[in-house]
């Protein structure tokens, strides 16, 4: 049997719709204010789709950019993974629709549905396949269209103001140097808190899974529900914990990290985590101000921007971390 090799990110790409929704735009739809949103979340604007398009449609340009930058052709992919909580259709997986948009066939394509931790869960899957010779080139895309799945009225404002649409993609391949690439991945969950942040309907716990009454009116079970303060508190704890866990696995400390890219859940969470780890501002990447929370897409979008801006260089130690619905949380350590 062949030796285990590491995997590394060969190329990155991202795509966001061109329709900008500012906080001021939201005040036209609901009772809120720019000040309220910025103070609590740091978000100034987010992107919404303009025409009918799903996560697979947003994923296509992001994936094409990542493939170009990696120098890999779509037909040479061995595996296509897509992470989303807002799939194009109920079934099949959005990965299948992306496979069709890419015009390729033969390789497996499936979805990993782990909400805000989705991209990190997928990195762990891709890394496992590549390390064991089960795949050479893997496409990993986080993509979300939240704007059609939130209640854009005053009733839904606590959740609605946070989320935005977008896609981020990475192409992974083998890395023979065991000191480089993905050093390790760390995955967690705690289902006890599943209902603190969820979309309930359609629910396969009821017959039928959706009724007309469930769709109707304000407070519909079709929209996401969140106990914001609860999620916030757990996020700060778990982010910090899992980052320490990842570093400790390599006898490293926060001081060794060149760049932390936290899932863009809320700027205030990122700031508290950074403070707790004693990381200076220049070592933490945030772009939630411009995109809002794009769940599975936020880490690859941020990573791509960070690399493009030159904030990640050869030899940099990059820590990716996420926390979100499930609760699920995760971290990955990468040597660039």
């Amino acid at each position: 049997m062949s030796e285990l090799v590491n995997s590394r990110i060969l190329g990155l790409g991202h795509h966001v719709p061109d329709r900008v929704m500012t906080n001021a735009d939201l005040t036209q739809l609901m009772d809120t204010s720019d000040e309220w949103i910025q103070q609590r979340t740091g978000i100034r604007e987010r992107r919404y789709i303009r025409e009918e398009s799903g996560p697979a449609d947003l994923a296509l340009p992001a994936a094409q950019e990542a493939l170009r930058s990696a120098g890999v052709k779509a037909e040479d992919l061995d595996l296509i993974l897509l992470g989303t909580l807002s799939p194009d259709v109920d079934s099949p997986a959005s990965a299948s629709l992306l496979q069709r948009r890419l015009g390729v066939r033969g390789m497996p394509a499936f979805d990993v549905r782990n909400q805000c931790s989705g991209f990190l869960y997928m990195l762990a899957v891709a890394d496992s396949f590549i390390r064991t010779g089960g795949a050479c080139h893997v496409l990993v895309v986080g993509s979300e269209v939240h704007s059609t799945g939130i209640d854009l009225s005053t009733v839904g404002r606590e959740v609605a103001v946070i989320f935005g649409d977008g896609a981020g993609a990475a192409v992974l391949g083998p890395e023979p140097d065991s000191r480089k690439g993905i050093l390790s991945t760390h995955l967690h969950s705690e289902g006890k808190f599943a209902e603190k942040l969820m979309i309930e309907v359609p629910t396969h716990r009821l017959h039928p899974r959706v009724t007309e009454a469930m769709l109707d009116g304000p407070g519909s079970r079709l929209w996401p529900r969140m106990e914001g303060r609860y999620v916030f508190k757990h996020a700060v704890t778990r982010f910090t914990e899992v980052i320490h866990e990842a570093l400790a696995a390599h006898q490293l400390t926060p001081a060794d990290v060149d760049l932390l890219i936290p899932h863009q859940a809320n700027l205030r969470i990122s700031q508290l985590v950074a403070m707790g780890l004693e990381l200076p501002e220049e070592k933490v990447f945030n772009n939630i101000q411009r995109y809002g929370n794009t769940t599975a897409a936020s880490v690859p979008i941020a990573l791509h921007e960070a690399v493009t801006e030159g904030r990640v260089r050869p030899g940099s130690l990059v820590c990716l971390a996420a926390f979100g619905a499930g609760f699920t949380w995760a971290a990955a350590l990468l040597r660039w």
Binding site: A124, F129, V145, G191, I199, R205
Partner: protein
Amino acid sequence: MRSTILGCGSYLPPRAVTSDELAGALATTGPQLTESTGVSTRREAEDGEGPSQLASRAAQQALAAAGLGPEAVDLIVFATMTPDIVFPGPGCFLQDQLGCRTVGAMDVRGQCAGFLVALATADRFIRAGKAECVLVAGAEVHSAALEYSPRAVAVTPYFGDGAGVVVLGASPEPGVLATVLHADPDGLERFWCEFPASRHLPSRMDIEAFRAGRHFYQLDAERMHPQAERVLPEVIGEALERAGVTREEVALFVLHYLDHRVARRAGRAAGIPDDRIVATAEAAGHMAAAGVPIALADALAAGRVRRGDVVCAAAFGGGMAWGAAVLRL
């Protein structure tokens, strides 16, 4: 390090729905439904029981068979196309119901090939040294998503509810000998479900789409059958070759496809004798991600296969996604 099956479990909800019972709503007769789909009874979960609850029972059985407690589990990989709620996925609910540690709980969507996707993923995690004891679950509550009107006469009778779980553990001796996965999005509308659809403006689910029944499965079985008959023999051959195992060495072939008669025909076309085929949909209807692990658990429980035997499982369905696994039990 390689992975091996430490224990299997299955659970079918007790309520059986006969074709006669379904016939009224579908404006036909019981014998006609049984004739057209090959399924005479299927099971239906109680209200309040999602796939995670069904999987929980199967998992307890699988862990008991493995002689392990929930604290031994260090990863959950859950496959379904009928989740408890939209998000989070049933993997998280299962983690809580079983009382596992705060280990990773991954939810994968690979439709009818979903369990093989989950199994291949778990195998790779173990071989990569990222996990040592993985709960691989497949569970479906199709009954909540089905349409009970004459329009669905060629869809609804095929499907049933149930769950199967495999405990996969690290081992120096390989148990999972090979896994092969494929997908081809061509013609995926032959088995799909459009709504909820995040691509739909202004809302992923609206009254118009609901009233038009666009949240029900759309299935064109007649056009799926030929592809199933073609790819199942192909992928079985590919997996056996990769595992270095001949057809004769395989004690049992678990063939997973919507229509068990088509699955059996595909098996015969692959040169497999009838008495070494289990067509998963035969006993209690088709369960997309659950059919394969249920058949494995049931074959072990019935003594049809024993420890040391080689089993080949192959699946084809929505996506279109298909695959095969060769396992030494």
